[in-house]
């Protein structure tokens, strides 16, 4: 069964939790216990039952009506497995939002059709983060259509306005779907209430989204985690493959060694490919630490102390910055050059702006290994004295 | 009275570690196959003293009973590890 992981983005009041709850109900993917429990909780709190209560399990979420951290909900529809990842919309919880968003293959952003709601700063910010996280597909669900009498003009207005922004920041695949999460319209079948809409219902749109291509780099790269013993190193192959007798180059030390044996799980193996965790017996013995990378001489992975990137800080900087790139933690200096403004264009800026994406040159104290064609080696997290500061993608 | 019953009676009078260990020896030689635990509320640690384990043979016939607890360095602990060769009798749940 193919897995579709969908991250739900958008402003907290635009109906994300309701949408997941409704999707679970219409695809009959929620147990009767869970449904009863959610109903009894809402009546205890004196509220009308809301499908979103099914997935909120934290006390604060029940009582405050907010989502604080990511929740996941899975459903099966016609033999397809879909996992929804609901992330908090609130600015203060952006760290949790980024964490949850990074798991998805498809981003589903919800925009309320109501005049006083619509496209917000948060909507745009979420979509920018999704782009940074390298999510390839975007579905825009225009929600609460029931509250505007399923009006075609309003839908088109939102669609055109948002499409302009998306074009400017470079989304290649996106599609717009009108829905009502609360009334369960156009979720798993075309809705009679929206006769002017010619596209597919939401679930079909999700299932039709192109599957993202995994990195096809032919270069060998293995992220190393440490030694099992003096002769054996542990790691995960990110790209390429290895065979017994191959020569390895351990970066950033630039040390050479030869593969004497390969263990995949408990068994000795002559070959191992991308995605596999391996234990490699090498000669001569080499001590490795987390952050080191094994490759070959020809692969030309870069060992650098400076690079250009897009960075997204979730708050104002406090104190010196260090970055974590593939397990190597290094003090660094970040020099912004420009930032992406609210229209999706570039504006000169020498300062990092909280909750905005900037182009910046990053300099690191310790040599790091980077490779733009391999996701794990072209992204990093940032920290300062207060803790997690944000994320960065190498350009 | 069978040896196992005598050993169980001894254990009911004194359930220190040594007593459980002697009982274990007898258990290996006996025809006891199943156990069932009876809890007396377990709301106070005293209840642990009053709880017990019923022992059965292969035909589910009750043979004798033993304490649930063992006294270890002045502490009362569960003693179910001493019954590890037995299987739960699995009657309808409490």
């Amino acid at each position: 069964m193919i897995s579709n992981r969908v991250t739900l983005l958008g402003h907290k009041d635009h109906g994300k939790s309701t949408l997941i709850g409704s999707m679970l109900i219409v695809t009959k993917s929620v147990s009767s216990e869970r449904l009863e429990k959610a109903k009894s909780i809402s009546s205890k709190l004196g509220k009308i039952f809301e499908p979103g209560f099914i997935i909120d399990s934290f006390e604060e979420e029940h009582e405050g009506g907010l989502t604080i951290d990511t929740s996941r909900a899975s459903l099966v529809f016609n033999g397809n497995f879909i996992e929804f990842i609901d992330v908090p919309g609130h600015e203060e919880l952006i760290g949790n939002m980024i964490t949850g968003a990074s798991y998805g293959d498809t981003a589903l952003i919800i925009i309320s059709a109501l005049r006083n709601e619509g496209i917000t700063e948060q909507t745009k910010r979420h979509v920018l983060i999704a782009k940074m996280l390298d999510i390839k597909n975007l579905i825009v669900a225009v929600n609460k259509m029931d509250l505007i009498s399923y009006d075609e003009k309003t839908f088109n207005k939102i669609k055109n306005e948002f499409k302009t922004y998306l074009d400017r920041i470079g989304w290649t695949w996106c599609t717009f779907v009108p829905i009502s999460a609360y009334k369960m319209e156009n979720l798993i079948s075309r809705s009679g209430k929206i006769p002017w809409y010619e596209g597919e219902c939401l679930i079909t749109t999700i299932l039709n989204a192109p599957k993202s291509k995994v990195s096809q780099s032919k270069k060998l790269s293995i992220i190393l985690q440490g030694n099992l013993d003096n002769n054996t190193i542990l790691g995960k192959i990110l790209s390429g493959s290895i065979h017994i007798n191959d020569k390895l180059l351990i970066l950033p030390y630039m040390k050479n060694c030869k593969i004497e044996n390969i263990f995949v799980k408990n068994k000795s193996s002559k070959i191992a490919r991308k995605g596999i965790n391996v234990a490699i017996r090498v000669n001569p013995p080499i001590g490795v630490t987390r952050g080191n990378v094994a490759s070959t001489k020809n692969s030309n992975l870069h060992t650098v102390k400076a690079f250009d990137s897009l960075v997204f800080p979730i708050r104002n900087q406090r104190g010196d910055i260090s970055i974590n790139i593939n397990g190597t933690i290094s003090k660094s200096l970040i020099a912004p050059k420009a930032l992406i403004d609210k229209y999706g264009g570039l504006k000169d800026s020498k300062v990092l702006k909280s909750l905005s994406v900037s182009f910046a040159t990053v300099r690191v104290q310790d040599v790091v290994v980077i490779e733009r064609s391999i996701p794990e080696l072209s992204r990093f997290t940032m920290y300062d004295s207060k803790g997690f500061l944000g994320i960065g993608v190498i350009k | 009275m069978a040896d196992i019953e005598k050993a169980a009676l001894k254990l009911q009078k004194s359930n220190k570690i040594d007593d459980w260990e002697s009982f274990s020896e007898e258990l290996k030689k006996s025809n006891v196959k199943y156990y069932r635990v009876f809890y007396k509320g377990l709301n106070k640690s005293d209840d642990l003293k009053r709880s017990y384990v019923e022992l059965y043979d292969i035909k589910n016939k009750p043979i004798t009973r033993v304490p649930l607890s063992v006294i270890k360095k002045n502490d009362i602990r569960g003693a179910l590890i001493y019954l590890k060769d037995l299987r739960s009798v699995n009657l309808v749940s409490k």
Partner: protein, 262 residues
């Protein structure tokens, strides 16, 4: 319940276990002899080419099932495990809530302090219960074993760099992405030994294992893993049905987790 791709799940868990060992210098794993923690140990044997580099802790309140004690001793011998038994006392208040909560947590705190463990591998899964679905692959516990679930730091891109101060520890959850049916599927595929309490006798079996006081049986005729898996495919009852503590309060699990009980 949907079966996922075991190979992908296993690779991910191997990676996480190796991360734990590489990042923290004093790692231990909790082992309850249940299907999840036993499957985790089977994965660990693969991650470290049969030499599990950390000890396994059994928090023992003395009233576990005799079958569980036997299973523990057999598997410890077979897999050459470094077993630590942390004895917990049964205390005065023993409702379903505090029996398995506070007294086990205390025993755990004691052994962690004694041995200086700074990371603990715990085999919880996201699908087990509402609150656990918020867990991260690596999460920090403070000195009082409390989980600050409101302030979890961002975790993405395999960056598990929480700063651990003295007295604190990290919890690692290698089976977080697995669901109940995946654990059984893996157990069968790898021929992992199974605690006999999971299988039906006289029309009853245990779906999830706690100690003899708090665990009740469920009606079932599943005598082997394929039958258990068939039951799960149609099951709509949550796994923890049969463990009394969950019936007490709506939000009790929130509190238990925050207190450090898994």
């Amino acid at each position: 319940m949907i079966k996922q791709n075991l190979s992908l799940l296993e690779e991910r868990s191997i990676f996480l276990l190796r991360e734990a060992v590489s990042r923290f210098d004093n790692v231990a794993a909790l082992w309850s002899m249940g299907k999840d923690s036993t499957a985790m140990l089977a994965v660990a044997r693969k991650a470290f080419v049969s030499k599990i580099p950390f000890p396994v802790i059994h928090i023992d309140n003395g009233i576990d099932f005799p079958e569980t004690y036997e299973f523990r001793d057999l598997l410890t011998k077979k897999w050459k495990l470094d077993l630590i038994v942390a004895e917990s006392k049964i205390k005065k208040e023993l409702s379903g809530f505090s029996c398995c909560g506070s007294n086990k947590t205390e025993a755990l705190k004691k052994i962690m302090k004694e041995q200086g463990f700074n990371a603990l591998i715990v085999s919880i899964r996201r699908d087990e219960h509402g609150i656990r679905s918020k867990e991260r692959y690596v999460s920090k516990r403070n000195k009082d074993f409390k989980w600050d679930y409101k302030n979890q730091k961002a975790e993405l891109w395999d960056d598990y760099s929480s700063k651990i101060e003295e007295g604190e520890h990290a919890r690692i959850h290698p089976l977080l992405d697995w669901n109940e049916i995946d654990v059984w599927n893996y157990t069968q595929a790898e021929k992992i030994p199974v605690n006999p309490l999971y299988f039906s006798r006289n029309g009853f079996r245990y779906r999830s294992l706690g100690c003899t006081h708090c665990t009740s049986m469920i009606k079932s005729n599943a005598k082997n893993i394929p039958q258990i898996m068939a039951e799960l495919k149609v099951s709509t009852t949550e796994e923890r049905q049969g463990r009394d503590q969950d019936k007490e309060k709506d939000y009790v699990m929130s509190k238990l987790r925050a207190l450090g009980y898994m």
